[in-house]
């Protein structure tokens, strides 16, 4: 499929933004599962999978 220069540029910007958002979500997830103050949250989730 042939894409225009403009389409490629906007696809790159979207991919870049999406990757930044995914990194942010990973960081929030990590914090929720490692913060001692959120231990009950972590246990609640893990119990669901036992």
């Amino acid at each position: 499929m042939k894409a225009s220069l403009n389409e490629i540029t906007h696809a790159i910007v979207k991919q870049y933004g999406r990757r930044k958002l995914r990194i942010r979500l990973e960081s929030i997830h990590h914090q929720l599962f490692t913060d001692p103050g959120k231990i009950s949250f972590k246990e609640k989730i893990l119990r669901m999978f036992q």
Binding site: M1, K2, A11, I12, K14, Q15, Y16, H29, F41
Partner: protein
């Protein structure tokens, strides 16, 4: 804890907010205040995780499908009354897309059936090209994704990126668009090789 005059608990605002409820000074992703995302996450992830666990998935499955659902939700840039229910609906669709054999085990209600899930990108950028551009054009991509992906206001972007005003930020946006276009052009003589 806050409450109404009848002492009823007030639902978390991020579950019901939309772009119009936010202050222009708040940093937003698709109209959603970034500072509210952890709260939304903590409130909504257990709902999606319970669904994934019921379907026999793993904690990692739950995380992956939840992140994909959040990204789709933010990219839709829409206003909904119940954000949590909407994200749950997206997650169900994503599960069904991945595990079509579970059709008989997952029931979508009328509201969930109205949720449209986008197909894959029309122009996925080749990994090699993306790596080259995202390294060489990082500063510009940070600015451009704030405009086009996060859909933030020029005022908000000017403030974060230390431009004197919204006009200066917009001028820089156009310069950056040109820079990325030039970089793309330089990295290959054949645009067809950019897409996979």
């Amino acid at each position: 804890m806050g409450g109404t005059g009848d002492n009823l608990p007030v639902p978390p605002t991020y579950l019901y907010m939309n772009a119009t409820t936010l202050s222009a000074s708040v940093v937003e992703i698709q109209g959603f205040a970034t500072e509210d995302i952890p709260g939304l996450y903590e409130e909504t992830f257990p709902v999606v995780a319970a669904f994934v666990a019921k379907m026999g998935g793993s904690p990692d499955d739950a995380k992956d499908i939840f992140h994909d659902a959040l990204i789709i939700f933010f990219e839709k840039d829409i206003r909904v009354e119940n954000v949590a229910a909407y994200i749950m609906g997206i997650a169900k669709h994503l599960w069904l897309r991945k595990y079509q054999d579970d059709k008989h085990r997952v029931s979508l209600d009328d509201f969930e059936r109205t949720i449209a899930i986008p197909e894959d990108e029309h122009f996925p950028v080749a990994a090699r090209l993306y790596r080259l551009i995202s390294t060489a054009g990082k500063v510009c991509l940070d600015l451009l994704q704030a405009f086009y992906y996060e859909k933030r206001s020029a005022e908000s972007i000017a403030s974060e990126f230390h431009y004197s005003d919204a006009h200066s930020a917009s001028v820089q946006k156009h310069k950056c668009l040109q820079k990325i276009r030039t970089l793309v052009k330089e990295k290959s003589m054949d645009y067809e090789s950019f897409v996979e």
